[in-house]
Amino acid sequence: MSDYSRIRFPGIHDEERVLAVYHRHWFNIVEELFLSVILSVILLGGFFFLPSLYPEIVGSPNASLFFFLENSFFLFLWLTLFLIWIDVFFDIWIITNERIVNIEQKGLFVRRVSELRFRSIQDVTSQVVGFIPSVLDYGDVLVQTAGENPRFIFRNVPNPVGVKDLIMKLADRDRRIAEFGNISVPPKSPATGA
């Protein structure tokens, strides 16, 4: 059971309650980091096995150059790994009792925050495409809206059907409040179980 009470994001109101927070699925993050991880393994292999395969490297005057180059590669790799991780992990979708907030990160310098009120939702679709997403249960949730931004997309989130159900329940509740002015208890979140 996740505790979202400590979560803060730009524009949150005092009475607003976070019901669910979604990042991309872990496998999607691993996919993005795959090349960096492979390069790290090759570099580590080089660091440990090259001196035993070519012992002259250790004794030669170029040993310090070899160490410097390898260390530089590790440094760049560590930075690249974190830059990719920031790019992927900081794509966040937050569902509160009032709205959906999408924080999209592109590199270090581009960050887009958009929000969607439940009353402008027209249709919600979840889609899981491919073998691995089917096995690990992750995919996209497409929210069709009447607003300026016609589609709001949750990309590669875990349990897309659960996300779709939660959004539909909250949109229905919002519609009922607008129609009858009857404020009911917010629906239970499948992610929190709260």
Partner: protein, 83 residues
Amino acid sequence: MTSILSLFYLVMFCGIAAIGLFICYHVIRYSLSRQSGILTVLVFSSVFLFFLSANAIAFFRVDWNGLLRNLGTPSTSAMYLRY
């Protein structure tokens, strides 16, 4: 020549340190929970500082004058190939 190389390295070093600092700022500023942000910064900065300091030490241990002098002559690696 070595001083030019050192100057070039200094610029690179400062650039990389600035990127590292910006990553820390970014993680602290935009993490949804402060606790996880601090933990991430600790993991990142400990490894980053280790690599950065080791890199600076390694740079100053390389005999750049000797290496640059040998640029025009047959390289040591070519000599190893003869073995």
